[in-house]
Amino acid sequence: MRGEGRAGWGFAAPALFLIVTCFFLPVAGGLLLSLTDFDIYAIASPDAARFVGLTNYERLVADPVFRKALFNTLYFVVVGGPLSVAVSLAAALLLASKLARFPGLYRSIYFAPVVTTLVAVAVVWRYLYHPRYGLLNLALGAVGLGPIDWLGDPRWAMPGIILLAVWKNFGYNMLILIAGLQRIPEELYEAAALDGAGWWARFRHVTLPGLGPMLLFVSVLTMLGNFQLFAEPYVMTQGGPLRSTTTLVMLMYEEGFRWWRMGHAASIACLLFVIMLAGTLLQLRLQRESR
């Protein structure tokens, strides 16, 4: 079996080499970078960077812009995530129903936004949100609401971005949840119906427990993705108005690649990682306790 062992390493080597050099080493580098004052001068001569311990982190915690970005990111995660999963679940329930006609067609339509290019649809939605001519305000106006200055009002900019993100992403989770719904045995519903359980009772006591692990998987995945919000605010609001849509990744990008304060930017990325990890553990624990 010596030939097999050598072939195994040979086949895996190109991938491992690339993943180590383009991912694992840079991640280790990112942790180190966050402990230095690496800046634009250090790009020309790396010797100019000094080890500064946890100074970058101390500065971040005290920085109102960082706190604002952290708040905005959490806002997007805590409001946008559950909303997105709820819409996915509603769409999955409708599509999995035996009464649905053309489920395949609807499934493809609902999924289409997922494959579209985020930057392009963010550009489109920026015009849908136009306070005077945007379709959304025209529709709201038709039922006597608004107008809302979606992207110009600090209170509405983040809800606007959440709405776009829900539209863009719900099809992904929907697809996974449909597969989950199809695996719940029909007999469970029949038994519940015989016991006189109504629609809501069947949903709470058969559907939700049946989806359990998959719902958790979908929630964690959505949360991890949402923590990395960047392109939508970059294209639609540039983080404004009044920093109301500046996110952690956006701040990292600005600090690192616009002002070249790379040590500082690296500490933002590392904190993001820690927060994402904490968020995942929290969700796993909440799920366990609810059972």
């Binding site: 690339l18 580098g29 992904y172 990395q228």
Partner: protein, 274 residues
């Protein structure tokens, strides 16, 4: 029975309404891209162009170099797809079917990497690529997409289903491991390799943050980066920007419609087995 009928009507109306809401932004994008300049900013609003013009598409190609960005995006997505299928395909097969020293430990380490956000390594990777002369090159965009943990994982899960007897029989016949991979594994893995190809193409075509970071010269821009930069300069030109959005989105939408079976399978493989 009439209760059930009413329920069925309500449910199908909800589905149709949802479909309309989902498609509305995309339909409006296409419609507005053919409107004469300024027609999106009229009241009462127009839903269809009158008259329909192709000026904006021509302007994008003639003056604004979107053809160049289109070519860059195509080259990047196709190259990354080819390398990703080859490199992840070989590695996924090796992790599933070839016994080599340290295999399982390495695989577990790779899986840990799945929870680390790419942003943590992005700054050092930029500095590394800059020192290697890969900053502001198409290769610099392509290389990190050529091998992915998720890609290896996807192929490995599928390759676990290849019977060992098949491979051992070929070994007894004296076939080399390379030959076994090409003539036995690849035909067996074909469905998942197609899925991986679709995944890689879509994700590299749509990717934004890394190309934005690594490309500084607008002749090298990919479509999303070029579009984001155009949308800064041409905020007022709604119809022009819609034409740019159409050009960016149409290739991936067409590809999705043709290959959706493969895309959906990969998504479920990651979702259920993961």
């Amino acid at each position: 029975m009439s209760g059930r009928r009413a329920q069925s009507v309500a449910l199908n109306l909800a589905l149709a309404g949802g479909a309309l809401l989902t498609l509305a932004p995309l339909l409006w994008m296409v419609s507005a891209s053919f409107m004469p300049a300024g027609q999106t900013n009229t009241l009462p609003p127009r839903l269809l162009p009158d008259p329909a013009v192709t000026d904006h598409y021509r302007a994008l190609f003639a003056r604004l170099h979107l053809a160049r960005a289109f070519a860059n995006s195509t080259a990047i997505a196709l190259t990354a797809t080819a390398f990703s299928v080859l490199i992840n395909g070989m590695a996924g097969f090796a992790f599933a079917k070839l016994r080599f020293a340290g295999r399982d430990r390495i695989f577990r380490l790779l899986l840990i990497g799945l929870v680390i956000p790419v942003q943590v390594g992005m700054l050092p990777l930029f500095l590394l690529f800059k020192s290697l002369g890969l900053a502001n090159t198409l290769a610099g965009v392509v290389i990190p997409s050529c091998a992915t943990i998720f890609g290896i994982f996807m192929v490995r899960q599928y390759a676990l289903g290849i019977p060992d007897e098949m491979l051992d029989a070929a070994r007894i016949d004296g076939a080399s491991e390379t030959r076994i991979f090409l003539s036995i594994a690849v035909p067996q893995l074909k469905p998942i390799l197609v899925t991986l190809a679709v995944f890689t193409f879509l994700s590299t075509w749509n990717d934004f943050l890394w190309p934005l970071v690594i490309l500084s010269d607008d002749a090298k821009y990919t479509l999303p980066v070029a579009l984001a930069s155009l949308s800064g300069e041409h905020v007022q030109d709604t119809e022009l920007m819609m034409a740019g959005a159409v050009l960016t989105v149409i290739p991936v939408l067409v590809m999705f419609v043709i290959l959706q079976r493969h895309y959906v399978r990969g998504l479920l493989a990651g979702g259920i087995k993961g």
